[in-house]
Symmetry: C2
Subunit: 132 residues, 2 copies
Amino acid sequence: MIKTKKEILGKHIVLEISECNNKKLNDVEFVEKIMVKAALTAGLEISDVVFNQFKSQGVTGVVMIAESHLTIHTWPELGYAAVDLFTCSQSFNTFAAVDLIKEKFEAKRTEVEEIKRGTIKENKLSSLIHFC
Amino acid sequence: MIKTKKEILGKHIVLEISECNNKKLNDVEFVEKIMVKAALTAGLEISDVVFNQFKSQGVTGVVMIAESHLTIHTWPELGYAAVDLFTCSQSFNTFAAVDLIKEKFEAKRTEVEEIKRGTIKENKLSSLIHFC
């Protein structure tokens, strides 16, 4: 029996950061700066950046990349943020981006989960038209 | 021993749709229309919408909502798209949005995973300043 090797199209890092610096989580300019820096650290080319500050507290933002994205939603009052890093290549250094985010928000607790997205058989790779 | 009940801040649906209609996955206007409709179907209030078409093939897009987002990355040549629905409330009807996406892209195969984001102890709920 010949086993067919499988490849993946995307690597998705689900990052939970807790016990962070509350003020930094509520500073939309700071949050945007760090998320853009994280994308650049990972070697990603940015196409769009959208960040919003809430009147009460909290920041929501996205950094868009070709077939990839980084998102963040912050709850400063709880010292918590939900971060996602979806990249379409194994070669990007997502863990450098994760380390930067943990450090800059001064997270004392983190949880990292990696999800494989778009599992395809190797013999279908030849039909791929676009890579990132 | 008193058990402390835990609540979550976000519900994250990781949706893989395969064997879809290739043309629909490559039509940026159609993809944007469906993702916006999915957000509205789920009862979410949209703040920003960004969608891009690639020269070769494929669409990438995000629908931003307060403390929530919907993203999609499509590979039309493989009939595949990676979709994420992150919502900050249990009350939103994310599965109605999932059904709509599956139906409109004519997905013959789907995988759905639900991730609980931001688990907090019930006694910390009182410190929450913003809900969505």
